[in-house]
């Protein structure tokens, strides 16, 4: 039974959170002045604000809610997760600086615009918007659902998860709908520090409850002595040729080194997502990317994941009473002021991601799909207001799905990262690999999406519903769908690039290519170091998240029936992960600064002025297009129902 006095702290802190949110929303709305800077904060966010917001949005609540639960359930069988800080920073180093330069030259404010200007591809624009919607509704919705259930549990059932998720949805809409990108950035700073503090605080509590770091590891060693306990501290080889989850039982456990590598690839998807691009393109200058990726993302976030999340997870592994939910319940009973403060941090992290996702998805649906194809005469004010309505609808859909269709939400959420990872190829085309043609980028992403869908629950469930049973399940050969998609993506890109015209780019793309090549030419020292950079990066990937992880099984001790000999006082695989996290920070620093991939570069970038063209009145064509869309949608729905009725199980 929870003491009634203890229940007051969570609402009290929530009140503080809402008050701060309203304050910063008001500041953002006033600075926006009019509707002009709603979507991108007038490209004026300070680099340190962007760095913090990017880091916390990447961390979101997944690592606290999902990552710690993963370790609590399966131990260190998937140690690639512990390198998330580094693998999240790698794409940031690779893309952000060049993406910002192209965006600034062409005055773009979103990934969809980037794809439209560079590849002139409607398909890539739609994919970018769909990925944003999947992040906003699925990925963030899944985390909000977990939080709502925790609120229900912590309130002793006084607040139902539905009411909690409605409250969280209203808070989200309030600041994103009113303040736009500026509110996401400003309030995001406070959400970021709260989220970081929450993980550090909970890890501290987990350590204290476990009796300290040595006692925690002694508990792990005892656990290793149990039957099948050794598997919790080892990677199960490089690969297992199984048919996938849900289709084939794997001997031992299913987490291999290639699972870690492919999961790391999925994490890399976040930095290629339209959400990350939204922050990057709203930033004032490119001076903060190196520091942000090196010290904030790889250093702080990486450390929080490798230490904090791992400690919370291992405490739950040894004693299920100390799993995240159990720990919060204990804190609620003993120190409700701590619990309220730390729980609020978890809420803040998830809300940051959800808010950013809602803004990006709302903007995408209205500015990049509805307006250009169905209502080009829509005024700026009307565009912003319509985006607000769409954001409210998306938040409502997410809340309803959290309560009514949690399984679908889970399947949808699982698609966000692997789908976003497929956007690597067009981004590489824009920033580094000039030989990727528009056709190749488009077809590659299409193949990548097919690869992801065919190896994820959502894809094979939909096909199964329509009467087509795939012979494999989720993640065949213990490889995450992100990697399957990328294999198909790369194959298509290579083939199509080889057979299509490499100069078939529009005027804006030509300008972007010329500008990047003339401005961001590598220095002599960086060119000399490039072979070393390749070697070091590939070696790190091989050993830290790739097949080399199997060396981590025994590098710092052994695991056997007697518990094994742990030469550094912790499981060998955890020590291995910590070592490569530290080396990873060095790698990111080297690539960012020494290789100049994200190094500060200050210059005034004049806007590119495209040749003037005549605009015709499109009202009639757009009206016709809208009618066709409605009719096609209705026919597709009827067709799916008929097929499901005829062949579905």
């Amino acid at each position: 039974m929870i003491n009634a006095g203890n229940l007051v702290w969570l609402p009290l802190y929530a009140l503080f959170y809402v008050a701060v949110m309203l304050f910063w929303t008001r500041v953002a709305a006033r600075e926006n002045g009019n509707h002009e800077t709603y979507f991108s904060a007038g490209h004026s966010l300070s680099p340190w604000i962007s760095a913090l917001t990017l880091a916390a949005a990447s961390l979101s609540g997944w690592f606290l809610l999902g990552g710690s639960a993963e370790i609590a359930a399966r131990g260190f069988a998937q140690p690639g997760v512990l390198q998330a800080g580094i693998v999240l920073a790698l794409p940031g180093v690779l893309f952000f600086k060049r993406m910002w330069f192209v965006g600034q030259r062409l005055r773009l404010s979103s990934q969809a615009e980037l794809f439209h200007s560079y590849f002139d591809s409607k398909f890539l624009v739609i994919v970018s918007v769909v990925v944003a919607v999947v992040f906003a509704v699925g990925f963030a919705g899944l985390q909000l659902r977990a939080l709502s259930e925790l609120i229900g549990m912590l309130s002793g059932g006084m607040i139902s998860p539905l009411v909690a998720s409605l409250f969280l949805g209203v808070v989200l809409f309030a600041y994103v709908g009113i303040g736009g990108m500026r509110a996401v950035g400003y309030f995001g700073v406070i959400q970021s520090v709260l989220a970081f503090t929450a993980i550090v605080g909970l890890a501290g509590f987990a350590l204290m409850s476990s009796g300290g770091f040595a006692a925690l590891n002694a508990g792990l060693q005892t656990l290793a002595q149990s039957p099948d306990g050794g598997g919790l501290f080892q990677v199960a080889g490089v690969i297992r040729f199984s048919a996938g989850l849900g289709r084939d039982a794997v001997m031992g456990h299913a987490e291999t080194a290639l699972t870690s590598l492919s999961v790391a690839m999925a994490f890399m998807g976040f930095q290629a997502s339209p959400l990350a691009a939204k922050i990057v393109l709203s930033t004032r200058n490119a001076n903060g990317f190196a520091a942000g990726q090196t010290w904030v993302m790889a250093g702080i976030v990486g450390g929080i994941i490798a230490f904090g999340m791992a400690i919370i997870g291992t405490a739950g592994l040894i004693n299920p009473q100390l799993s995240l939910g159990g720990m919060l319940a204990q804190l609620q009973a003993a120190s409700p002021w701590f619990m309220a403060w730390l729980f609020l941090g978890a809420v803040a992290g998830v809300q940051l991601l959800a808010g950013l996702g809602l803004l990006t998805a709302g903007e995408g649906l209205v500015r990049h799909i509805y307006k250009p194809y169905f209502h080009s005469s829509l005024s700026r004010v009307a565009t912003v207001n319509l985006t607000r309505i769409v954001i409210a609808l998306l938040a409502l859909v997410s809340v309803l799905m959290q309560s009514l269709t949690p399984v679908t939400l889970s399947a949808l959420g699982a698609l966000a990262l692997p789908l976003a990872f497929q956007l690597w190829t067009p981004l590489l085309g824009i920033t580094w690999l000039r030989w990727i043609t528009p056709a190749a980028a488009t077809v590659g992403v299409g193949f990548g999406i097919a690869g992801v869908l065919l190896t994820e629950t959502m894809g094979y469930e939909v096909l199964s519903f329509l009467g087509l049973e795939l012979p494999w399940g989720r993640w065949p050969w213990t490889i995450h769908s992100a990697a399957w998609g990328m294999a198909a993506n790369i194959a298509a890109v290579l083939i199509i690039s080889a057979i299509t015209n490499r100069n078939a780019f529009g005027a804006e793309a030509q300008e972007a290519r010329r500008f990047v090549q003339s401005t961001l030419r590598m220095g002599r020292r960086a060119r000399v170091l490039s072979a070393a950079a390749w070697s070091v990066a590939l070696a790190w990937i091989f050993l830290a998240v790739g097949p080399g992880l199997v060396f981590g099984n025994f590098a710092f001790g052994t695991v056997d029936a007697s518990g094994g000999a742990w030469s550094v006082g912790m499981p060998s695989i955890w020590a291995w992960a910590l070592l490569f996290w530290a080396l990873g920070v060095g790698l990111i620093w080297f690539l960012s600064y020494k290789m100049e991939m994200a190094s500060p570069y200050l210059m005034d970038i004049p806007a590119y002025e495209p040749p003037r063209t005549l605009h015709h009145d499109q009202t009639r064509v757009e009206g016709e297009r809208l009618r066709k869309l409605v009719v096609t949608g209705a026919l597709a729905f009827i067709l799916v129902v008929l097929v499901a009725f005829s062949f579905g199980s």
């Binding site: 701060v20 966010l45 300070s46 700073v189 406070i190 520090v193 503090t197 605080g201 403060w341």
Partner: protein, 140 residues
């Protein structure tokens, strides 16, 4: 554009969201456990929040804003009232009593030290020395 004033405010909010709330939580924890050490930790965190706030003010070449001053003095007043009420009601333990005294002593000494370093000893006094304007027709 996000102005230096906005950025300074963001940092101040972040500092208090972390150090201020941690300090408050440790103080409450100390009172509950009747532990002077835990209370002292809470006090140290609140002092750290003040120090960080002052550093941010210095970096952005700004002082405390009127709203912050009002909030700080208001919070100090509420704390003082609560402390005196606790003493008079006789429900305070010795740990609570000494923890409260420590917090108030540090806050008062810190406040005077801050004013002295910022305005000099004489200048600090002048901050409270209100000069009233003498109008021509005032009771001569």
């Amino acid at each position: 554009m996000s102005t230096p004033k906005t950025e300074r405010d963001l940092l101040v909010f972040s500092i208090w969201a972390v150090l201020g709330f941690a300090g408050l939580a440790f103080l409450l924890e100390g009172f509950t456990r009747d532990s002077y050490f835990v209370c002292l930790l809470g006090t140290a965190l609140i002092v750290a929040a003040f120090v960080a706030h002052i550093i941010v003010n210095f970096l952005f070449q700004q002082g405390f804003r009127p709203g912050e001053t009002v909030l700080g003095i208001g919070a100090f007043g509420v704390l003082t009232f609560t402390f005196i009420a606790g003493v008079l009601s006789g429900s305070m333990s010795m740990v609570d009593y000494y923890s409260g005294l420590t917090l108030f002593s540090i806050l008062i000494v810190g406040f005077i030290a801050y004013l002295s370093t910022r305005h000099g000893l004489r200048g600090a006094f002048s901050r409270f020395h209100v000069k009233t304007a003498v109008s021509e027709d005032s009771g001569r």
